[in-house]
């Protein structure tokens, strides 16, 4: 049963993560019509990941009786920058992705127009199009998990830098000479406010200071960056002092970053999401806000920027990829129309 999609055009949104690929079938209002998953299996190489992404997309369409050809366009979000050539920059978790022809390969495999974006940018674009940032003109998004991803939508467009590698919101320096970050630099926002950053504080408190915390039971190997956000929530709510202090320090530093972002961009909205804030948003958001209020210049800009929790959860990146495909296809259609007009 092949339905007619013209009444409400359908789009694909694919989120390629380090461990799984999630494909969403999405309508123009941002409703998820269906979803399908595969394992990423990055070790099998670039083309193999693309094949699983295309399969998942086909399956998501078929669940609802559609074919890939019913999709107006497909957006794909990947954990690395997408260069102007349509190829990818090296992805740390995906061997063989250096200069891989992402857009061409996905168009071959699906037969549809494909648009590609970095996953952090796609997540912000999802919240902008269909989530907590729906009414924003300038939206900054921050996703706090193992690292800190995010990006900026400025008057409808993602700001990705002239080389498409910017919007690395987790790697601004908030403490010159400070704590070592996973990127090799010192004092990045991510070194304080992400799970990887907080893991350093956990190690310090437990090993150097000899303090007790329930986190030693769930991470007996001392690899605290792998702690689940749901555990952090329980430990925080039960008042585990090491967990409370570390998360509050993270929230304070996130506020330092938020203050600098407002001071620079003056967004009318900031959206904060990711695993840590899905688990503990209610507890941590007030601390982030108070820290940002104390550090934004001028303070009026703090008052003019709403700071809210993200709404789309695990679907943010896939929905953002779909929204980015809608937006890009509309733009390309307008461009080719105005070209054909000019040609007359």
């Amino acid at each position: 049963m092949a339905k007619n999609a013209s009444a409400n055009q359908l789009y694909g949104g694919i989120d390629v993560g380090g461990t799984k690929v999630l494909a969403l079938l999405v309508d123009r209002n941002g409703s998820v019509v269906s979803a399908s998953k595969r394992k990423t299996r990055g070790e099998l190489g670039f083309r193999s990941v693309c094949e699983r992404a295309a399969e998942a997309m086909r399956e998501a369409a078929e669940i609802e009786g559609y074919q890939l050809e019913n999709l107006a366009a497909i957006g794909i979000a990947v954990p690395c920058p997408v260069l102007p050539t349509g190829c990818t920059a090296p992805a740390p978790n995906l061997p063989g992705w250096k200069n891989a022809p992402l857009i061409r390969t996905m168009e071959e495999l699906t037969g549809r127009p494909v648009y590609a974006e970095n996953d952090g940018n796609a997540g912000v674009y999802g919240e902008y199009a269909f989530g907590a940032g729906k009414n924003a003109k300038t939206l900054l998004g921050l996703f706090v998990g193992t690292g800190i991803g995010g990006g900026l939508v400025y008057h409808g467009e993602l700001v990705v830098g002239e080389n498409r590698m910017a919007a690395e919101v987790g790697h601004i320096i908030v403490q010159e000479g400070g704590r070592r970050c996973g990127c090799g630099h010192k004092g990045c926002l991510e070194a304080y406010a992400s799970k990887t950053g907080m893991a350093r504080r956990f190690s310090w408190e437990i090993i150097q200071e000899g303090r007790k915390s329930a986190i030693t039971q769930v991470c007996p190997d001392g690899n605290y960056a792998t702690v689940k956000s749901s555990f952090l929530r329980e430990a925080y709510r039960s008042g585990d002092p090491v967990v409370v202090e570390t998360l509050q320090e993270g929230a304070l530093y996130l506020g330092v970053g938020v203050a600098s972002f407002i001071t620079l961009f003056g967004p009318d909205m900031i959206v904060i999401g990711g695993g840590v804030f899905e688990a503990l948003g209610k507890e941590l958001l007030p601390s982030v806000k108070e820290s940002a209020r104390q550090r934004t210049w001028p303070e009026a800009s703090y008052r003019d920027s709403k700071i809210n929790l993200a709404l789309l959860g695990d679907h943010a990146v896939g929905l953002g990829a779909a929204a980015f495909a809608m937006h890009s296809l509309d733009r390309d259609t307008r461009k080719s129309k105005s070209k054909s007009k000019a040609g007359k």
Copy 2:
């Protein structure tokens, strides 16, 4: 002798500073046709400053045989944000400017369309239109003097924030909990890399550490923030250790800021100017670049951002105001044309 300006339209660019008002007559290529100055005399109140600004503009026109009516439009740059209403936010050095109707008053006094912008933004726009940033798509400008001003031009438009108070590049936090800034916060870029910030280090070295420096001779009152950049150049070149260390520390921190700006925006060009870099650009720029290189993420983004010295010196703000007026008038003309088309 009233010349006909149609062949090469003329624009006014007015730079209202804390002590003087500079009016430039500018052609579409950014050549300064003539200039005239007045004292600002802010203590006489808002309208009085506007009158002197209009007088200076009239004089600059008359020097070359023009009248104000020969100007297509006038841009005015002021040391405070200009709100969407065309009024000003409070200006620290200009009493009575809170909510002052800047655009209306200047249009009354000159009879020309007036466009207004903050002076830091105007300076960057000047370098973008006619100076070192001429070929940039995304340009970040930093002007290092008593404080640190600047701004961002993104694809032809100034990014000023939704409340028009952002782009406060000197007030991002680079050292959480660090040195006190003039704004009242701690650890701002300006607290380390501006003359006001460096004055704190001078005081520390001389008073707390008892070190000797030639700066004590030119600032016997200990008010080191007032030191002339030309003195800093001489002392630096003669190897005065306190001056060399302090300026190098400033350059390092400026590089911290530059790294964060590149990490976030990925501009294809960064322009650094202001009194300190006009005097010591050649000496300090390599340190700024090396510091930024070590801290930008990913490093490829550092390589894709050119970092150059500003070119327009004292004329940057006035030229930027004129360029902003050109750009805004062109935009308004296009808008009203497309409206009248739509009305047909």
